[in-house]
Protein backbone atom coordinates (compact mmCIF):
# COMPACT_ATOMS: atom_id res chain seq x y z
CA UNK A 1 0.00 0.00 0.00
CA UNK A 2 1.57 3.29 -1.06
CA UNK A 3 1.96 5.63 1.86
CA UNK A 4 1.75 8.85 -0.17
CA UNK A 5 -1.45 7.77 -1.89
CA UNK A 6 -3.23 6.99 1.37
CA UNK A 7 -1.88 9.83 3.53
CA UNK A 8 -1.19 12.36 0.80
CA UNK A 9 2.49 12.49 1.80
CA UNK A 10 5.31 10.18 2.81
CA UNK A 11 6.51 11.06 6.33
CA UNK A 12 9.40 8.57 6.34
CA UNK A 13 11.10 8.56 2.94
CA UNK A 14 13.97 6.08 2.71
CA UNK A 15 14.74 3.00 0.65
CA UNK A 16 15.98 0.22 2.97
CA UNK A 17 17.78 -1.55 0.13
CA UNK A 18 19.75 1.64 -0.63
CA UNK A 19 20.76 1.85 3.01
CA UNK A 20 22.15 -1.68 2.82
CA UNK A 21 24.20 -0.66 -0.24
CA UNK A 22 25.45 2.53 1.42
CA UNK A 23 26.42 0.72 4.59
CA UNK A 24 28.20 -1.97 2.58
CA UNK A 25 30.16 0.55 0.50
CA UNK A 26 31.23 2.59 3.51
CA UNK A 27 32.32 -0.60 5.27
CA UNK A 28 34.40 -1.68 2.25
CA UNK A 29 36.12 1.70 2.00
CA UNK A 30 36.93 1.66 5.72
CA UNK A 31 38.40 -1.83 5.33
CA UNK A 32 40.50 -0.64 2.38
CA UNK A 33 41.82 2.32 4.36
CA UNK A 34 42.64 0.16 7.37
CA UNK A 35 44.49 -2.31 5.14
CA UNK A 36 46.36 0.49 3.39
CA UNK A 37 47.43 2.04 6.69
CA UNK A 38 48.46 -1.35 7.95
CA UNK A 39 50.76 -1.76 4.92
CA UNK A 40 52.54 1.42 5.96
CA UNK A 41 52.62 0.24 9.56
CA UNK A 42 54.56 -2.84 8.47
CA UNK A 43 57.54 -0.80 7.43
CA UNK A 44 59.79 1.51 9.31
CA UNK A 45 59.80 -0.51 12.52
CA UNK A 46 63.04 -2.40 12.13
CA UNK A 47 65.60 0.21 13.01
CA UNK A 48 68.43 0.28 10.48
CA UNK A 49 67.97 3.05 7.96
CA UNK A 50 64.91 4.46 9.78
CA UNK A 51 66.99 5.39 12.79
CA UNK A 52 69.33 7.62 10.83
CA UNK A 53 68.88 11.21 9.75
CA UNK A 54 68.58 10.21 6.12
CA UNK A 55 65.62 7.94 6.86
CA UNK A 56 63.75 10.39 9.06
CA UNK A 57 62.18 12.45 6.23
CA UNK A 58 60.82 9.28 4.66
CA UNK A 59 59.43 8.15 7.99
CA UNK A 60 57.83 11.57 8.48
CA UNK A 61 56.13 11.63 5.09
CA UNK A 62 54.84 8.10 5.56
CA UNK A 63 53.43 9.07 8.92
CA UNK A 64 51.68 12.07 7.38
CA UNK A 65 50.25 9.92 4.59
CA UNK A 66 49.05 7.43 7.16
CA UNK A 67 47.41 10.20 9.21
CA UNK A 68 45.49 11.41 6.17
CA UNK A 69 44.05 7.95 5.70
CA UNK A 70 43.39 7.72 9.41
CA UNK A 71 41.42 10.98 9.40
CA UNK A 72 39.31 9.77 6.49
CA UNK A 73 38.81 6.43 8.16
CA UNK A 74 37.74 8.04 11.44
CA UNK A 75 35.21 10.20 9.67
CA UNK A 76 33.87 7.22 7.75
CA UNK A 77 33.45 5.20 10.92
CA UNK A 78 31.23 7.99 12.22
CA UNK A 79 29.28 7.92 8.95
CA UNK A 80 28.84 4.17 9.24
CA UNK A 81 27.56 4.48 12.79
CA UNK A 82 25.15 7.18 11.64
CA UNK A 83 23.94 5.03 8.75
CA UNK A 84 23.41 2.00 11.00
CA UNK A 85 21.57 4.11 13.54
CA UNK A 86 19.49 5.65 10.74
CA UNK A 87 18.67 2.19 9.39
CA UNK A 88 17.34 1.02 12.76
CA UNK A 89 15.29 4.20 13.19
CA UNK A 90 13.90 4.05 9.66
CA UNK A 91 12.76 0.48 10.16
CA UNK A 92 10.90 1.41 13.32
CA UNK A 93 9.32 4.59 11.94
CA UNK A 94 8.29 3.01 8.66
CA UNK A 95 6.69 0.19 10.60
CA UNK A 96 4.70 2.77 12.61
CA UNK A 97 3.64 4.53 9.42
CA UNK A 98 2.64 1.26 7.77
CA UNK A 99 0.36 0.60 10.71
CA UNK A 100 -1.12 4.11 10.48
CA UNK A 101 -1.65 3.73 6.74
CA UNK A 102 -3.51 0.45 7.25
CA UNK A 103 -5.76 2.08 9.83
CA UNK A 104 -6.46 5.09 7.62
CA UNK A 105 -7.23 2.81 4.68
CA UNK A 106 -9.69 0.87 6.83
CA UNK A 107 -11.50 4.11 7.61
CA UNK A 108 -11.91 5.06 3.98
CA UNK A 109 -15.54 5.83 3.06
CA UNK A 110 -16.65 6.07 6.69
CA UNK A 111 -17.91 9.66 7.23
CA UNK A 112 -18.14 9.15 10.99
CA UNK A 113 -14.41 8.37 11.33
CA UNK A 114 -13.14 11.75 10.16
CA UNK A 115 -11.77 12.72 13.59
CA UNK A 116 -9.93 9.46 14.01
CA UNK A 117 -8.51 9.75 10.52
CA UNK A 118 -7.28 13.27 11.30
CA UNK A 119 -5.62 12.07 14.49
CA UNK A 120 -3.90 9.22 12.66
CA UNK A 121 -2.56 11.59 10.01
CA UNK A 122 -1.34 13.97 12.73
CA UNK A 123 0.50 11.06 14.33
CA UNK A 124 2.06 10.26 10.95
CA UNK A 125 3.24 13.87 10.70
CA UNK A 126 4.86 13.59 14.14
CA UNK A 127 6.67 10.49 13.00
CA UNK A 128 7.75 12.52 9.96
CA UNK A 129 9.19 15.28 12.18
CA UNK A 130 11.16 12.69 14.10
CA UNK A 131 12.33 11.23 10.80
CA UNK A 132 13.54 14.66 9.60
CA UNK A 133 15.44 15.18 12.83
CA UNK A 134 17.20 11.83 12.50
CA UNK A 135 17.95 12.59 8.84
CA UNK A 136 19.69 15.79 9.92
CA UNK A 137 22.01 13.71 12.14
CA UNK A 138 22.85 11.45 9.22
CA UNK A 139 23.44 14.46 6.97
CA UNK A 140 25.74 16.00 9.60
CA UNK A 141 27.95 12.90 9.62
CA UNK A 142 28.42 13.10 5.86
CA UNK A 143 28.98 16.86 5.97
CA UNK A 144 31.77 16.17 8.44
CA UNK A 145 33.18 13.63 5.99
CA UNK A 146 33.20 16.36 3.33
CA UNK A 147 34.99 18.63 5.79
CA UNK A 148 37.66 16.00 6.45
CA UNK A 149 38.17 15.53 2.73
CA UNK A 150 38.48 19.27 2.24
CA UNK A 151 41.30 19.42 4.79
CA UNK A 152 43.10 16.52 3.16
CA UNK A 153 42.83 18.10 -0.27
CA UNK A 154 43.79 21.52 1.09
CA UNK A 155 46.96 20.05 2.61
CA UNK A 156 48.16 19.73 -1.01
CA UNK A 157 50.98 17.40 -0.12
CA UNK A 158 53.63 16.65 -2.68
CA UNK A 159 54.33 13.26 -1.19
CA UNK A 160 56.08 11.93 -4.28
CA UNK A 161 58.26 15.02 -4.57
CA UNK A 162 59.29 14.75 -0.93
CA UNK A 163 59.97 11.05 -1.32
CA UNK A 164 62.11 11.76 -4.37
CA UNK A 165 64.19 14.32 -2.49
CA UNK A 166 64.53 11.97 0.49
CA UNK A 167 65.70 9.11 -1.73
CA UNK A 168 68.19 11.39 -3.46
CA UNK A 169 69.55 12.30 -0.02
CA UNK A 170 69.64 8.62 0.98
CA UNK A 171 71.54 7.73 -2.16
CA UNK A 172 74.02 10.52 -1.49
CA UNK A 173 74.45 9.35 2.11
CA UNK A 174 75.13 5.81 0.92
CA UNK A 175 77.64 7.03 -1.64
CA UNK A 176 79.40 9.10 1.02
CA UNK A 177 79.44 6.18 3.42
CA UNK A 178 80.82 3.83 0.81
CA UNK A 179 83.45 6.29 -0.32
CA UNK A 180 84.59 6.75 3.26
CA UNK A 181 84.54 3.09 4.22
CA UNK A 182 85.51 1.35 1.03
CA UNK A 183 89.24 0.97 1.79
CA UNK A 184 88.73 -0.60 5.21
CA UNK A 185 85.88 -2.80 4.08
CA UNK A 186 87.84 -4.02 1.11
CA UNK A 187 90.82 -4.80 3.32
CA UNK A 188 88.56 -6.72 5.68
CA UNK A 189 86.86 -8.56 2.84
CA UNK A 190 90.15 -9.58 1.30
CA UNK A 191 91.55 -10.73 4.64
CA UNK A 192 88.54 -12.91 5.27
CA UNK A 193 89.48 -15.04 2.30
CA UNK A 194 86.11 -16.74 2.15
CA UNK A 195 84.35 -15.30 -0.85
CA UNK A 196 81.23 -17.44 -0.92
CA UNK A 197 80.44 -17.00 2.77
CA UNK A 198 81.24 -13.32 2.59
CA UNK A 199 78.85 -12.83 -0.32
CA UNK A 200 76.07 -14.41 1.66
CA UNK A 201 76.77 -12.23 4.66
CA UNK A 202 76.85 -9.11 2.56
CA UNK A 203 73.51 -10.03 1.02
CA UNK A 204 72.12 -10.23 4.51
CA UNK A 205 73.72 -7.00 5.59
CA UNK A 206 72.24 -5.00 2.76
CA UNK A 207 68.93 -6.63 3.53
CA UNK A 208 68.25 -8.24 0.20
CA UNK A 209 67.88 -11.61 1.88
CA UNK A 210 66.04 -10.18 4.86
CA UNK A 211 62.78 -9.70 2.99
CA UNK A 212 59.85 -11.56 4.43
CA UNK A 213 61.48 -11.79 7.82
CA UNK A 214 59.57 -10.31 10.71
CA UNK A 215 60.74 -6.87 11.81
CA UNK A 216 63.47 -7.16 14.39
CA UNK A 217 64.02 -10.83 13.69
CA UNK A 218 67.75 -11.16 13.54
CA UNK A 219 67.88 -14.90 14.07
CA UNK A 220 68.38 -15.60 10.37
CA UNK A 221 71.19 -13.10 10.15
CA UNK A 222 72.89 -14.63 13.18
CA UNK A 223 72.57 -18.06 11.61
CA UNK A 224 74.17 -16.91 8.38
CA UNK A 225 76.93 -15.15 10.23
CA UNK A 226 77.59 -18.21 12.37
CA UNK A 227 78.22 -20.18 9.21
CA UNK A 228 80.76 -17.71 7.89
CA UNK A 229 83.84 -17.86 10.07
CA UNK A 230 85.71 -14.61 10.25
CA UNK A 231 82.88 -12.49 8.89
CA UNK A 232 82.46 -10.84 12.30
CA UNK A 233 85.37 -8.58 11.39
CA UNK A 234 83.43 -7.19 8.48
CA UNK A 235 80.36 -6.81 10.64
CA UNK A 236 82.33 -4.95 13.26
CA UNK A 237 83.56 -2.56 10.61
CA UNK A 238 80.05 -2.00 9.31
CA UNK A 239 78.57 -1.61 12.74
CA UNK A 240 81.16 0.85 13.92
CA UNK A 241 80.68 3.11 10.96
CA UNK A 242 76.91 2.82 10.88
CA UNK A 243 76.66 3.75 14.54
CA UNK A 244 78.34 7.01 13.69
CA UNK A 245 75.95 7.66 10.83
CA UNK A 246 72.77 7.00 12.78
CA UNK A 247 72.22 9.05 15.94
CA UNK A 248 70.16 7.56 18.73
CA UNK A 249 67.70 10.38 19.16
CA UNK A 250 65.64 9.90 15.99
CA UNK A 251 62.16 8.42 16.28
CA UNK A 252 61.40 4.83 15.57
CA UNK A 253 59.16 4.91 12.53
CA UNK A 254 55.94 3.21 13.45
CA UNK A 255 52.87 4.27 11.57
CA UNK A 256 50.30 2.12 13.25
CA UNK A 257 49.28 4.52 16.00
CA UNK A 258 45.99 6.24 15.55
CA UNK A 259 45.04 9.22 17.61
CA UNK A 260 41.47 9.70 18.68
CA UNK A 261 39.50 12.92 18.85
CA UNK A 262 38.12 15.42 16.42
CA UNK A 263 39.27 15.24 12.86
CA UNK A 264 40.19 18.86 12.91
CA UNK A 265 42.58 18.17 15.76
CA UNK A 266 44.17 15.33 13.87
CA UNK A 267 44.69 17.39 10.79
CA UNK A 268 45.92 20.48 12.52
CA UNK A 269 48.40 20.96 15.34
CA UNK A 270 48.17 17.51 16.83
CA UNK A 271 49.53 16.00 13.68
CA UNK A 272 52.95 17.42 14.39
CA UNK A 273 52.65 16.49 18.02
CA UNK A 274 51.76 12.92 17.18
CA UNK A 275 54.53 12.73 14.62
CA UNK A 276 57.11 13.54 17.22
CA UNK A 277 55.61 11.92 20.26
CA UNK A 278 57.18 8.55 19.55
CA UNK A 279 60.65 9.93 19.47
CA UNK A 280 63.34 8.74 21.74
CA UNK A 281 63.22 5.13 20.69
CA UNK A 282 66.51 3.46 21.22
CA UNK A 283 68.93 2.98 18.40
CA UNK A 284 69.34 -0.40 16.88
CA UNK A 285 71.16 -1.55 13.84
CA UNK A 286 68.40 -3.77 12.51
CA UNK A 287 69.64 -7.21 11.74
CA UNK A 288 73.08 -6.40 13.05
CA UNK A 289 71.98 -5.81 16.61
CA UNK A 290 73.31 -8.50 18.83
CA UNK A 291 74.60 -10.48 15.90
CA UNK A 292 77.43 -12.87 15.75
CA UNK A 293 80.05 -11.11 17.79
Amino acid sequence: MRVDLVLGFDPTPSEPQQLVVLSDVVRKVIRALVQARSELGHIGCTGSVWDGPVGAPIAALLRRYSLQMSALEESLVECLQAVDSWRDGVEERQSQVTSIVASVADLAGDPTAEDRRTRLIATAREVGVEHDRAAADLAAAFEELSGAVEQIVRADDDLAGELDRALVALTAAIDDWMAAEAPELLRTAVSLGEVAGLTTVISELVGIAALGRKPGDAAGVREIIARSPGSHRLIRALRRQWLEVAPATLPEATFSSRSSGAITDILSGRRTQTATSDSGAGFSVGGLKGSGE
Binding site: Q35, G44, T46, V49, A140, A160, V168, T200, L205
Partner: protein, 103 residues
Protein backbone atom coordinates in the same frame (compact mmCIF):
# COMPACT_ATOMS: atom_id res chain seq x y z
CA UNK B 1 81.00 -3.55 -1.57
CA UNK B 2 77.30 -3.13 -1.01
CA UNK B 3 75.15 -0.38 0.43
CA UNK B 4 74.46 0.35 4.09
CA UNK B 5 73.13 -2.47 6.23
CA UNK B 6 69.50 -3.32 5.45
CA UNK B 7 68.89 -0.26 3.27
CA UNK B 8 68.09 -2.45 0.29
CA UNK B 9 65.46 -4.43 2.16
CA UNK B 10 63.84 -1.37 3.67
CA UNK B 11 63.62 0.35 0.30
CA UNK B 12 62.13 -2.79 -1.21
CA UNK B 13 59.63 -2.99 1.63
CA UNK B 14 58.74 0.65 1.09
CA UNK B 15 58.12 0.12 -2.63
CA UNK B 16 56.04 -2.96 -1.84
CA UNK B 17 54.04 -1.02 0.75
CA UNK B 18 53.17 1.72 -1.73
CA UNK B 19 52.04 -0.91 -4.23
CA UNK B 20 49.82 -2.53 -1.62
CA UNK B 21 48.42 0.83 -0.52
CA UNK B 22 47.61 1.65 -4.12
CA UNK B 23 45.81 -1.68 -4.54
CA UNK B 24 43.84 -1.25 -1.34
CA UNK B 25 42.76 2.27 -2.24
CA UNK B 26 41.82 1.05 -5.72
CA UNK B 27 39.55 -1.52 -4.10
CA UNK B 28 37.94 1.30 -2.12
CA UNK B 29 37.39 3.26 -5.31
CA UNK B 30 35.90 0.19 -6.98
CA UNK B 31 33.42 -0.13 -4.14
CA UNK B 32 32.33 3.47 -4.71
CA UNK B 33 32.04 3.16 -8.47
CA UNK B 34 28.54 3.17 -9.94
CA UNK B 35 26.96 3.41 -6.52
CA UNK B 36 23.77 5.42 -6.37
CA UNK B 37 23.17 7.21 -3.09
CA UNK B 38 19.71 8.60 -3.61
CA UNK B 39 16.61 7.60 -1.62
CA UNK B 40 18.67 7.31 1.53
CA UNK B 41 16.36 9.60 3.45
CA UNK B 42 14.91 13.08 3.12
CA UNK B 43 16.02 15.21 0.10
CA UNK B 44 18.42 17.40 2.17
CA UNK B 45 19.88 14.27 3.71
CA UNK B 46 20.32 12.66 0.27
CA UNK B 47 22.09 15.77 -0.88
CA UNK B 48 24.58 15.66 2.01
CA UNK B 49 25.18 11.93 1.68
CA UNK B 50 25.70 12.23 -2.08
CA UNK B 51 28.13 15.12 -1.66
CA UNK B 52 30.02 13.30 1.10
CA UNK B 53 30.42 10.18 -1.01
CA UNK B 54 31.57 12.22 -4.03
CA UNK B 55 34.12 13.95 -1.81
CA UNK B 56 35.20 10.59 -0.47
CA UNK B 57 35.81 9.43 -4.03
CA UNK B 58 37.95 12.52 -4.67
CA UNK B 59 39.97 11.95 -1.52
CA UNK B 60 40.55 8.28 -2.26
CA UNK B 61 41.58 9.17 -5.82
CA UNK B 62 44.04 11.76 -4.51
CA UNK B 63 45.49 9.35 -1.95
CA UNK B 64 45.79 6.64 -4.57
CA UNK B 65 47.43 9.06 -6.98
CA UNK B 66 49.98 9.84 -4.28
CA UNK B 67 50.83 6.18 -3.85
CA UNK B 68 51.05 5.70 -7.62
CA UNK B 69 53.38 8.69 -7.90
CA UNK B 70 55.48 7.29 -5.06
CA UNK B 71 55.70 3.93 -6.85
CA UNK B 72 57.08 5.78 -9.90
CA UNK B 73 59.58 7.63 -7.71
CA UNK B 74 60.67 4.36 -6.10
CA UNK B 75 61.14 2.94 -9.58
CA UNK B 76 63.42 5.83 -10.49
CA UNK B 77 65.55 5.04 -7.43
CA UNK B 78 65.61 1.31 -8.07
CA UNK B 79 69.36 1.15 -7.53
CA UNK B 80 68.75 1.62 -3.80
CA UNK B 81 66.92 -1.66 -3.60
CA UNK B 82 69.24 -3.62 -5.89
CA UNK B 83 72.56 -5.02 -4.82
CA UNK B 84 75.42 -3.35 -6.63
CA UNK B 85 77.06 -5.71 -9.12
CA UNK B 86 80.04 -7.50 -7.71
CA UNK B 87 83.23 -8.19 -9.61
CA UNK B 88 82.14 -11.80 -9.94
CA UNK B 89 78.77 -10.76 -11.43
CA UNK B 90 80.48 -8.56 -13.92
CA UNK B 91 82.88 -11.31 -14.94
CA UNK B 92 80.05 -13.82 -15.22
CA UNK B 93 81.09 -16.05 -12.33
CA UNK B 94 78.42 -17.73 -10.22
CA UNK B 95 77.46 -16.30 -6.85
CA UNK B 96 75.16 -17.71 -4.24
CA UNK B 97 71.78 -16.04 -4.49
CA UNK B 98 70.47 -13.79 -1.71
CA UNK B 99 69.95 -15.65 1.50
CA UNK B 100 71.49 -18.82 0.14
CA UNK B 101 73.66 -20.45 2.74
CA UNK B 102 76.84 -22.24 1.95
CA UNK B 103 76.91 -25.57 3.67
Amino acid sequence: MEHMPLVGAEVQRLAHAFQQVSLELASGLTALRDSDFTAIGTPPCDSSVGAGMRDLHSALSALQQSSTDCISVMGRHGELAEPAPTDADQSGQGQPSSGEVES
